[in-house]
Symmetry: C2
Subunit: 149 residues, 2 copies
DNA sequence: GCATTTTAGATAGCGCGCGATTAAATCGCA
DNA sequence: TGCGATTTAATCGCGCGCTATCTAAAATGC
């Protein structure tokens, strides 16, 4: 036989790894969103930024970054694309010229209405009970916290 | 008040979303791996390919892809980098010239020893009981399956 | 037996995510 | 007050992950 039998016992076995399950679930999730968000002309990370801004408009780049666990190297070009799409404006703070406030445009606010339909479509695609999903969400928050410490 | 109070009730609320929990946990996981895998000179997706090949050597590109849920557009350049690093070779099958078999080199096989230490380090970083992790893994497999269908 | 269709892999281009560096503004403190 | 340290954002380069497209080889159909 090949080495495949041993491997099923090994800690290196692909299918036993939480991390691969996490990785591939995230890719699958991302595919579902890609399809849904095409109608809003957003990528998933862009959608996340919009969620943050719909919750609280006018945040700084680093403020958004803290919320999403992303840094300016990721956010700056992403925000520029959203600005290019007319959904927001980036404006340097006059008090502290280092900071850039990100402010939704009319169009950016308006997009929220379209976005309201997204979560339900995703939950539908997930085919899970709300309870299951909430438990999973809390487990994942927990895991993220521990991994980041 | 701002719109932030409403938002906590909304389905659009960031912190209520499973998908954001999934997304950010995956990023955190990836960061942990990046640090660990630096010693092996591998990225996380490269590490996954090596896991697949350690389980069963000589698979085709699409065989690896089915295992990892990735397609040739992602794998081809990744495999070329691994080939460039001397860990494997890509060779066209003589039976079916469309297929490319991916075969580990001596060095590729050898790297497995170093990799044996990785899973334990990750579990340590996760600070979870094996039971918790197994449950989470199964939930994620489940979710992936449902999302992909 | 030859055209059609299907399959395997490669290629180009785009948008993240991040490590590393740089530039500018502000802060802290002697 | 002056000047080094810190903070904030931007920039660059690289490796995914994907869509769309392409090429070549193999399978299919009549």
């Amino acid at each position: 036989m090949t080495d495949s039998n041993d491997s099923q016992e090994s800690l290196l076995a692909l299918d036993r790894q939480v991390c691969f399950a996490l990785y591939s679930a995230q890719l699958a999730m991302s595919k579902v969103y890609r399809k849904l968000l095409r109608e809003l002309d957003l990528t998933y990370p862009q959608y996340l930024v919009m969620l943050v801004l719909w919750e609280q408009d006018g945040q700084t780049v680093s403020g958004i970054g803290e919320r999403l666990f992303l840094d300016s190297a990721t956010l700056t070009p992403l925000l520029k694309r959203l600005e290019g799409a007319g959904l927001l404006q980036r404006q340097r703070s006059r008090q502290d010229e280092r900071q850039v406030a990100v402010v939704l445009t009319e169009q950016g606010h308006k997009l929220r209405e379209k976005a309201e339909a997204v979560p339900e479509s995703v939950m539908c695609a997930a085919q899970c009970s709300p309870d299951e999903l909430e438990r999973l969400r809390d487990d994942l928050h927990n895991l993220r916290e521990r991994l980041a410490s």
